[in-house]
């Protein structure tokens, strides 16, 4: 199982990270200051660090310099979105940064991206009778490959990675097409209809009234 250490001096934020990363299937430990984080890094092996910049005692940048050599990838979490701070973090070898306030989906996506880059994630996702190979970008149903357009594939992957979670239309649009969700469009609905049919997810991918869509895991 992937182990992640989140370091932030705010308990609510830590709880939020633990909860949302837990839902993505990772084990998330938490530390409230730099010293505690160092202790935990020495005791355990982590696949990823989520680091707040403004920490009491040892700050995030200093901590980063200390653990930089260990090879554990780091994502910065910061309330400052000043370019200089971001650049400094990236220069120190951070893999990515997330600016507060952040979206849970964005957090999950960035965590996944970094883990994937470091080869810590399985490249094959099995869900509801489908086998998705994220490297070859192939989707198999019973050994037979599905013919999907790029958008359909991305849509399928988004749901496959977030089972049991309601994805609203604007979140889906933002993630797949990018930019603001235009009010008068049925793009999302149409693509989901087509993808559902091809994937054979008519029963498991349901629309949640007034909220969006949710993929339930079939037992």
């Amino acid at each position: 199982m992937i182990r992640i250490l989140a370091v932030d001096d705010e308990k609510p934020i830590l709880e939020l990270l633990r909860l949302s990363l837990g839902r993505s299937g990772y084990q998330c430990d938490t530390a409230q200051d730099g010293a505690e984080a160092l202790r935990m890094i020495e005791q355990n092996e982590y696949d990823l660090l989520l680091l707040d910049v403004m920490l009491p005692g040892i700050d995030g940048f200093t901590l980063m310099e200390y653990i930089g050599s260990s090879g554990v990838p780091v994502i910065f979490i910061t309330a400052k979105d000043a370019i200089a701070d971001r650049v400094r973090g990236l220069h120190l070898g951070a893999e990515d940064y997330i600016v507060k306030p952040f979206n849970i989906l964005e957090l999950q996506a960035r965590v996944e991206g970094v883990l994937r880059r470091h080869g810590k994630l399985d490249s094959v996702i099995r869900i509801n009778g489908l086998e998705i190979n994220t490297l070859s970008m192939q989707v198999l149903r019973g050994g037979e490959e599905l013919q999907l357009t790029r958008k359909e594939y991305e849509l399928l992957l988004l749901f496959a990675r977030n089972p049991g979670i309601v994805l609203s239309k604007d979140v889906i649009y933002e993630r797949i097409w990018g930019g603001e969700y235009p009010d008068a469009t049925r793009t999302v609905e149409l693509h989901i209809q087509r993808m559902k049919k091809k994937a054979g997810w008519e029963d498991s991918l349901k629309s949640v009234y007034g909220m969006g869509y949710r993929l339930s895991r079939e037992s």
């Binding site: 001096d9 705010e10 308990k11 609510p12 934020i13 709880e15 939020l16 909860l19 949302s20 839902r23 409230q32 403004m54 009491p56 309330a79 400052k80 000043a82 507060k100 306030p101 952040f102 979206n103 849970i104 989906l105 049991g164 979670i165 309601v166 994805l167 609203s168 949640v208 909220m211 949710r214």
Partner: protein
Amino acid sequence: MSFHTKLTVTILLLIALSFGLGGMLLIYTSFDAVRGKESQAALRSFEDTRTMIWLMYRYSSGEGEESLREIMRGLDDEGYGDWMAVSVYDGDEVLYTEGPAAALAVKAEPPDGNICTLYPVNDEMGHGLVLTGNTVVEQREICLSARYDLSDAYEVYRVNSRLYLLIYAVIISVGIAVSLVLSSALTKRLRYLTSTARRISGGDLSIRSCLKKGDEFGRLSADLDRMADNLQQKINELEDRIKSQEAFTGAFAHELKTPMTSIIGFADILRQGDVDESTRTMAADYIYSESRRLERLSFKLLDLRMIKKDEPVMKKTAITPFLKDACRMLAPVLKKRNVELHVHSGGGSVLMEPDLMRSLIYNLIDNASKAIDGKGRVDVEGHVSESGAVFTVRDNGRGMEAAELSHITEAFYRTDKNRSRSQGGVGLGLALCKRIAELHGGSISFESAPGEGTTVTVEIKTGAGAGGRVSTGETAVEKSGGPAGTAADAAMEEKL
């Protein structure tokens, strides 16, 4: 024209003028002396000759040209310089003549009487002196005229002048070099000061000229350095202000975004559904508490903004009821925290903005009580001073390290973040207090040591006018306190 050039030219002019005039004067004076001496010698020799002629005509029997020639030879024998031409007349009749007649062309009319005249001449035969004199003897007027040659003296003068011109040229060339070096040496400090000033104006504010004092340059240097000091201080103040503003903005963003992140995140989780009961409760709890935190932050921020905007309206306020009032508001909270609150008032009244000052005292007492673990006590004291009033709030709580004291009035600074948050602090209270104290022309100071509690002293300076009314306030307290005595005795203590 640069000062350097001006100085060079001035020095050069001075050298040229003094050496030119001085040299010319010297040469001319020596020439004049030589000419004078020669003229004197010529005159003496001429006069001797005239006397001889007179003697000859008076006593000598052997008249005629032969005797005259004898005498004239004597003129030459005297050995005084060169006689170029000589003539002796008797009326229009020439008795004797020697040398070119042209030499005596300028001969003036012989003067009347037994005197001698001198005419300086300058013709193609050179410079000379024509002497003419009458000798009256035996009813005859014998006129003697002779030309003395001064060419040699003039020649010496000419040669000397030319030689001096050469020397003068050398002096001028040396003078140019000297004046260049001299003005360069004189303006060296000036150039140094200029370059220093330029570097300062270019932005390098740490540069100082530091010339030795004593002359004008030293004083200018000192003034320049003082100016740079002031400039640097002003710039530093500005930079500090900008830095603290940036720090405030950064800290504020952090304070704002952290609860927002939690609220948005937990709300998102609830929205996605598929959550168990305990997660739902936790998410709702966090959303509630973090929203409350945002609320408190916005209120405090509003307070801070309001203070920054308005000029406070000062009111004469009696200290005793004011303190009682401020403490009454907090009494229930403190009771719950198991903290005793003691109020000591020196009585009297002072000019202040009562709402703001109440907020200040309230904040200080709140802070003091939060610094206490378990049971403890907070002492609040207020009395008038010469320039206003002094309030102190003392607790016997945890206290702070000296290093922390300098930061505690910074916005969003907290000595213990987690504890502060759980107690509902947003980190703006002391920044607010400091601002209120400053609005009253005063200051806020802290005294603390770990484990020994903290004493906060607020001094407000709203003028001695309030001090005048203070005495009446004190008598009022005395009256109410009965005949027992002094203001100190009258100081009331109220236990809440």
